[in-house]
Symmetry: none
Subunit: 379 residues, 2 copies
DNA sequence: TAAGTTTGTGAATCTCATA
DNA sequence: ATATGAGATTCACAAACTT
């Protein structure tokens, strides 16, 4: 396997096989119809990157309402309906096969998905000979909660990044990523908000597409694994986020999209897009996640053992730490903040400074344990 | 499908099929030999949870045969990539099949892996009928950097949590998780340090095991998806992190481990582990677990007099409590839930939190009266 | 205008006991 | 089996609205 970062190496690389001239490709066009058919119209080994956001094959039950009674607008589109894993797998194998064919030997593939489909996609692309370079976790800052309290909040999606094979070369702009990440190596978990607000495309007040991806995500993908002038194909173009970001970053793009409506929205969007300027670059840079600590994390990590007694400064109340990081004081229980609030009858309470514990005879605020934890956790 | 949180329901649930008495199981033992063989010695539908940390690197040991019967030399890596996946898949299917068999109908499975193997595992467990509930990202605070700068820092591993099937019940301690996370829903991305420092087991100054998992990870898994006394099986026991945390949390455990050395290390470790006190083990209960109270019972008991006026937060509607615990608002009548639902035109309504009443000049939710009633009725 | 409050919404495999 | 009714359940952010 290998990495290519300089334009020089890249040029040498491209000269090797019979290169397909870019002019032979439908650059800057949205091909209509089925993506497998559309990709068949492209020559072998002709593109640098495929970015794919295929249907996730969600299998939703009935309607879902929020606790306030409002209705959740779910993805119920026909294009996300498959009758079985077998049918979904066949579909996946077919489009991945075409993607592999049109990619140059040193090209790469990105696919985004959720737990509903990503394990099918990952296994199949490995079967086809793709070589996984990283799996990337898109950590959403603002995911939809789990309204019924039945599972963990589904707060991330997964991207797979793969080369043509174990020994294949690929483009990785290491230094660009390091710069983007405040001079630290870019990690496999990316903290990026979901696409809403002004960026979210609307038609007649309705969202134009149910699953529009944030531009920041595509920005990072293209900045990390393509260089200027590279050709990027998106087989599931939707509203054209890939095309818009590619145009902004000076990459060539080709989209495939079955639905007339989405093609129209995408075309309009990309026509308005302008090449990148410096100020835009700064805006796209992600902020580092704030080191917020839950009290429960300290208990899990053994910094405070369940059963430990904690008390307020004047020892008016004594409570016991339980396994889940809640406190128990007589019949009353709650979080460090909530129980402190209830006991005092106060409107709010900062449990970190309200509660104390004894450590080898010395009385300390809970906040002291939090500081120790943060020190231990930050490499 | 469904979630179970109360001990009461749980007991009823267990009584349904011919229950395997716990005494028939090798609780607190580390079974030697191949995990598939070891699991074969356990009865059907007998355990509550399987936690598995399978090998990624095909160190399967012993003789291996291709599906066509031809022999593969595992030690000299005498296979191509296709063989390698095939063999790994067969191995995975075999141990997952045994795991599924020994799990109770409402039991659950956890598997941890990295991008090398988790896509194989995920696809196969779906094929076997397991139903993925979440994929969880263990986000490492202190991962190994990518020294050569060729990829993104591989800063996470993935855990899959699955029930026996789409309609199967499963245990999820929602409120314990919410408490552990400072009163916010626990998300699918968990920030936990890697296992090092004093927790990392050493023998003669060397790491005892190359992939020892942090206890905080198992702590959260067991706290979230088991209750006290549940039986947890770990087919790839290693140095026994699962056993140690299970013992601490008052869960029963069974391990399988092929290597004598690891069995020795694990046994010594677990012998030293002490169970937590009863009180420390308690976790925040869900309201689902609380005894159900009929509104009519409050009225009967005089906690709310017939004729009392109740109203929603904004006083858009005012209703009168009737002797049978129903409400009347103009011509409309119904239960506290049903009337609230009808008046709002909402799909559902929790009358306990929707309706309010005045008690000595203070506005309170009906739920406050329920809490008073529960306190009075207990003991 | 500025500041505070209310409302809307996002790739979601989202209940359970009883009749 | 399937229908019914009780009742448990939400976080971050932005836009709209009010004071």
């Amino acid at each position: 396997m290998g990495v290519v970062e300089t334009t020089k190496q890249r040029t040498a690389r491209k000269a090797k096989p019979v290169a397909v001239p870019k002019e032979a490709l439908p650059l800057g066009q949205i091909l209509s119809g089925d993506c497998i058919e559309a990709m068949r119209s492209l020559p072998d080994a002709s593109v640098d990157l495929v970015f794919a956001d295929p249907p996730y094959n969600l299998q939703l039950g009935g309607d879902l309402n929020r606790p306030d009674g409002s209705h959740v607008d779910a993805v119920t589109n026909d294009w996300d309906q498959f009758d079985s894993f077998k049918i979904y797998d066949d579909f996946t194998r077919n489009w991945l096969t075409e993607a592999k064919r049109i990619l140059k030997p040193d090209g790469a593939l990105w696919v985004i998905g959720s737990y509903h489909n990503i394990y099918r996609v990952g296994a199949i692309l490995q079967d086809l000979g793709f070589w996984i370079l990283n799996d990337i976790v898109w950590r959403k800052t603002n995911p939809m909660p789990n309204f019924r309290g039945t599972r963990f909040t589904n707060a991330h999606e997964t991207l797979l990044w793969a080369s043509q094979g174990e020994k294949a070369k690929y483009q990785f702009n290491y230094n660009a990523m390091k710069t983007l990440n405040d001079e630290l190596q870019m990690r496999s978990d990316w903290v990026i908000p979901i696409c809403n607000g002004g960026e979210r495309l609307k038609e007649n007040g309705q969202k134009a597409h149910p699953t529009q991806k944030p531009e920041a995500l595509l920005y990072r993908v293209l900045l990390a694994t393509t260089e200027k002038g590279d050709v990027v194909v998106d087989p599931f173009f939707g509203t054209g986020t890939t095309g818009a970001v590619a145009k902004r970053l000076g990459r060539e793009w080709i989209g495939c999209e079955r639905e007339d409506f989405y093609r129209g929205v995408a075309q309009k969007r990309i026509d308005k897009e302008l090449p990148l300027d410096e100020s835009a670059l700064k805006i796209m840079q992600s902020k580092r996640a704030a080191p917020k600590v839950a009290f429960g994390a300290l208990v899990e990590a053994g910094f405070l053992k369940p059963g430990t007694e904690v008390f307020d400064k004047k020892r008016r109340w004594v409570a016991t730490v339980r396994a889940d990081g809640s406190l128990e004081c007589g019949k009353q229980t709650g979080s460090i903040h909530g129980l402190g609030k209830d006991l005092q009858g106060a409107p709010s309470c900062n449990g970190w400074t309200f509660w104390h514990y004894e450590d080898e005879g010395v009385v300390k605020q809970l906040d002291a344990a939090r500081q120790l934890y943060l020190l231990a956790v930050e490499d």
